[in-house]
Amino acid sequence: MPNLTLDRPSAPATGEHAPRRRPRRRPRRIETRVRTIISPHQLNSPRGRRIYWAVLVTVVVLFTLVFVFPLYWMVTGAMKTGDEIARMPPTLFPAEPTFDAFAEAWELFDIGLLLRNTTFYALGGWLFTMAVDVTAAFALSKLRPMFGNVILGAMLATLMIPPMVVLIPTYLTIVDVPLFGWHLLNTPWALWFPAAANGFNIFLLKRFFDSIPRELLEAAAIDGAGPVRMLWSIVMPVSRPILGVVSIFTIVNSYRDFVLPLLVLPDSDKMTISVGLSQTAGAVSQNAIMGGLVIASVPAIVVFFVFQRHIMAGLTAGSLKG
C-alpha cells in the first residue's frame, strides 16, 4: 500500500498561508494500516474523515447509552431511597446517595451465603470439569484408543441439543441416577456431573492437544514417562493458554447458570446467587433488588475486566474453525 505514507500534496501550500492555525486545525490522519471495506484513501479524504468522526461519535454515544446506561441506572437505583426510586419523573443522580440498599439486600437475600455457595459450586465444578475433560481430551488426542472418533463424535453431538431441551430427563436422572441409585438433589454433584459433560471443552482441548508435536511425547516415553506423567509434565504446561480459556468459561458458565440450579438445588441454604435472587425478589423493595443485582454483577464484571483478552480469544477460538 504505497499511499500509506504519502502526504496529501496540498499540505505544504496551505501550511504557508496560515502557519500557526493550519497544523492544529488539520485533523490527524486516520490510521489505515489494516485495510477494511473503506479504502484508506476514501477514509482520509476530507469528506470521509468527517463521516468517520461522525460515525465514531454516534457509535460510542449509542453504545454507552444502550449498554452502559442500564447498568448506571441499576447502580444509582440501588443508591436512591425508597421514595426517590419511585418518583416520576426519575432523577438522573441520586439526591442523597445512600448505601443502605446494599446492606439491606445483603441481609434480605442472605447474599453472603449465596455467594459462598456459588463460589463453592463454581470452584468445585471447575476442578472436576478440568480433571475429567483434560484427561478425556488427552486420551482422545494422544493415546488414540479404538472407537475414539466415535466417542468424540458422540460427545460433539451433544452440542446440537441445548440443555434446556433435555431439562426434564436430566432432572429425573439427577433425582435418581440409574444403575447407581444415587440421589443427587441438593448436592453439588447435581451441577458438577452435568457441567463436566461438556462437548465444547473436549473439542477445544483436543484440538489444542492435537497441535502438540508427537516427538515431544515420544521423547518423554523414551525417558520412561508414563501417560500420567506425560499429561502432567508435558501436555499441561504447554497447553496453558487453552486451559485458561476452558477454566474461565467453566467458572463463568457456572456463575451464570440458572435453570438447572433452580431445579436441583431447591433448599434455601443450598441455592446459587442467581436462584436466590430470583426467589426472593418478589418480597423485597425495588432499591434492595437493585442492590442485590449490583452485588451479583460485581464478580462477573471483575472477572471480565481481568480476563477479557482470554475470554474474547476463547470466544472466537472455537467458532472460527466451525
Binding site: 441506572w73 484408543p145 426434564i168
Partner: protein, 320 residues
C-alpha cells in the same frame, strides 16, 4: 522397517545384538502394546464417559422414552402410548406456544442476527475506541442472566420504569411493555437481544478481521462501491460463519426460558408462553407431568435435529 531387517540379516550376527525383528514376536508385542494403550486410554476416558453417558447421552434417549410413559417418581413408569402427546396437543396453549416460539425466534433472528453483523461491520471500520466498544458490547453477556432480567423488569415497568419515562420525556405515549399481549413478546426479544448480542458481534468481528485486504483492493479496482464490496467480498467471505451463527442462534432462541419465566410468567393471555416454558410448567408447576413435558421436549428436539441436519448439509455443500 524392512530396511532394518535386511541390515541385521546382512551383518549376520546382528540377531543377538538387536531385539528379534521376526514377524510373529513383533506383532505379538504390537498387539500387547495396543491392548495396553487402549486400556490406559479408556482409563483416562472413564470419567468423561461416565459423565457423558449418564448426564448427556442417557437424558437424550430418556426424552424419547419419557414421552411415551407416565412418570411420577413414585410408581414405576408405565407405558401409555401417545397419551402424553394427546394431552399436550389438546392444550389450548400448545399452538400458541409454538407460534410464540417461532415468532420469538424470527424476531430474535431479525434483531440478534442482522444487528450484530451490521454492528460488527461498523466496528471493524472504526480505528478508535475499539477496546471500549468491544468491552461494552460483551458486558451484558458476562452478567448473570438473572441480573439482566430483573433489571429489565424494572426498566420496563409501565409506571416509573426508565423506558416509559424516556418516552414521556420525548412526549410520546407510554407503552404497556410486558403487560400487554401486543408488546410483551417484542419486549422479551429486546431483553434477549440486549443480553446476547455481544457474542455474535465479537465472533463476526473476528471473522471480518480475517478477510484479506487484497480482496477489497481488487473489488475497488473493479469499481465496486462500499455496498458492492460488502456484497461481493464481505458476505461471501463470512458465509460459513454466518451459516454457523444462524444455526446457533436458532438453537439458542428456540429454548427461551428465563425471559418468560421471570418477566411475564407466560402472560398476558399466553402471549409469551414458549415451548420450553410450557415444558417447564408441565413438569414442575402442574404437579409433575413429566411425560407431557417429555413429549414437548421430544418435539423440540426433533425440530432442532432437523435444523442441525439442514445446517450440516449446507456447510458440506459449501466445502465441496
Amino acid at each position: 522397517m524392512a530396511g532394518g531387517i535386511e541390515a541385521t540379516r546382512a551383518t549376520g550376527s546382528g540377531w543377538r545384538l538387536r531385539p528379534p525383528p521376526g514377524p510373529s514376536p513383533r506383532s505379538r508385542t504390537r498387539l500387547g502394546r495396543a491392548v495396553r494403550r487402549n486400556l490406559t486410554a479408556y482409563g483416562f476416558l472413564c470419567g468423561a464417559l461416565f459423565c457423558f453417558a449418564v448426564f448427556a447421552w442417557y437424558p437424550m434417549v430418556r426424552e424419547f422414552i419419557l414421552a411415551f410413559q407416565r412418570t411420577n417418581l413414585i410408581d414405576p413408569p408405565e407405558w401409555v402410548g401417545f397419551e402424553n402427546f394427546r394431552t399436550v396437543i389438546e392444550d389450548p396453549a400448545f399452538g400458541q406456544a409454538w407460534l410464540n416460539t417461532i415468532t420469538f425466534t424470527l424476531l430474535a433472528l431479525l434483531c440478534g442476527y442482522a444487528v450484530p453483523f451490521v454492528v460488527a461491520l461498523i466496528l471493524n471500520e472504526l480505528r478508535h475506541a475499539r477496546a471500549y466498544l468491544r468491552f461494552v458490547v460483551y458486558l451484558p453477556v458476562m452478567l448473570p442472566p438473572i441480573v439482566t432480567v430483573l433489571l429489565f423488569r424494572w426498566l420496563l415497568d409501565p409506571g416509573p420504569g426508565l423506558f416509559n419515562q424516556i418516552l414521556d420525556f420525548l412526549h410520546l405515549p407510554p407503552l404497556a411493555w410486558l403487560d400487554s399481549a401486543d408488546t410483551a413478546l417484542i419486549s422479551l426479544v429486546l431483553v434477549s437481544t440486549w443480553m446476547n448480542m455481544g457474542t455474535a458481534t465479537l465472533i463476526y468481528l473476528a471473522a471480518l478481521q480475517n478477510i484479506p485486504a487484497e480482496l477489497y483492493e481488487a473489488a475497488e479496482l473493479d469499481g465496486a462501491g462500499v455496498l458492492g464490496r460488502i456484497r461481493h467480498v464481505t458476505i461471501p467471505q463470512t458465509r460459513l460463519i454466518l451459516l454457523l451463527m444462524l444455526m446457533l442462534q436458532i438453537v439458542a432462541t428456540m429454548q427461551v426460558f428465563i425471559e418468560p419465566y421471570m418477566l411475564t410468567g407466560g402472560g398476558p393471555e399466553n402471549a409469551t408462553v414458549t415451548v420450553a416454558y410450557l415444558m417447564y410448567q408441565y413438569a414442575f408447576v402442574y404437579g409433575g407431568n413429566y411425560g407431557a413435558g417429555g413429549a414437548l421436549g421430544m418435539m423440540l428436539m426433533i425440530v432442532l435435529l432437523a435444523f442441525a441436519a439442514v445446517q450440516l448439509r449446507l456447510t458440506r455443500d459449501d466445502k465441496s
